[in-house]
């Protein structure tokens, strides 16, 4: 997809969801104050990434964007404030999603990321198996496991009392 076509899609996404043209290291920066419609936004991210990166890198960006945003929408607090950033800085490409949440969720994410770092392959397989359980409550863990194992991106988390910022990153 060429850049002008991406720009046309961006215009439509801007109109629909409030995308703010990015500055500095950020390539795309978006914030929402209500639950976003992810499908058109992800279509834009996919087209944008394909127009600027290799197919493999674009695939990784799409996966990280989809899973982090889905987690934010699904498990964020009722405050419903989200932000998304795709950034390129210092040879690294980052997908960053921030949302309001509660401390218990932050603690759970921290513990899960520790497990993921120790053995991404094993955690991915066990999360896939766990998703057979009737409760879908662990799907977010499958999403993070996919980012780590499938997209081969590292994940770091920063949090304060009311919000969490999850960054998935890899070399360009």
């Amino acid at each position: 997809m060429n850049v002008s076509k991406v720009d046309a899609i961006l215009s439509r996404v801007q109109a629909a969801s409030g995308v703010v043209p990015a500055l500095g290291g950020a390539l795309v920066r978006v914030s929402w104050d209500a639950s976003p419609n992810l499908e058109p936004f992800l279509a834009f991210v996919t087209a944008y990434a394909r127009s600027r990166f290799s197919l493999t890198l674009a695939e990784r960006v799409t996966l990280a964007s989809a899973e982090l945003l889905d987690n934010a929408v699904r498990y964020g607090s009722l405050a419903r404030e989200f932000s998304y950033e795709l950034a390129s800085e210092g040879g690294q490409l980052s997908v960053i999603v921030q949302n309001c949440t509660v401390q218990a969720r932050i603690d759970m994410l921290t513990a899960h990321l520790r497990r993921l770092d120790a053995g991404p392959d094993q955690v991915y397989a066990s999360e896939l198996e766990r998703s057979l359980a009737p409760s879908g409550g662990r799907r977010s863990m499958l999403g993070l496991a996919r980012i780590r194992h499938e997209a081969e991106m590292r994940i770091e988390l920063t949090a304060d009392v009311h919000s969490v910022k999850v960054r998935a990153y890899c070399s360009r």
């Binding site: 889905d70 397989a125 057979l132 879908g136």
Partner: protein, 125 residues
């Protein structure tokens, strides 16, 4: 007329599903909607039950043109694999036709095959 030929594919903008009797299902596009189970879960189950009613020995699900799915959609394939795994010899062989160049297919279906045992087969190009 077979049961499988009467399946009505869901109408989604970014996802296409085609049924070719007696035993071929082809999927294309992407699945990135938040809760794909609501739209596609019932359809997958219908296909499974139609395959059983038709008595097919093997059902081929071609996902090579399905370029991206979110983790909620992967769960649908996990469910399907578990349905045939539970039936064992009373069911059918679920054969996924995959493209190994597409990362999600390469990683997910290898694990699905290990979960589903002899009920799941993979063709990877």
């Amino acid at each position: 007329m077979t049961q499988i030929s009467q399946i009505e594919p869901p109408q989604l903008t970014s996802f296409q599903l085609n049924v070719t009797a007696p035993n071929l299902i082809a999927m294309a596009g992407t699945i990135a909607i938040s809760d794909p189970g609501l739209v596609l879960g019932g359809c997958f189950r219908q296909i499974h039950e139609a395959a059983l009613a038709d008595g097919v020995r093997e059902l081929v699900v071609d996902v090579r043109q399905l370029t991206f799915v979110n983790s909620s959609a992967i769960r649908l394939f996990v469910d399907w694999s578990s349905w045939v795994a539970i039936l064992g010899a009373r069911g059918y062989l679920l054969r996924f036709r995959t493209d190994r160049r597409i990362t999600w297919q390469r990683t997910s279906f290898a694990v699905l095959q290990s979960l589903g045992g002899k009920s799941i087969a993979l063709d990877g190009e």
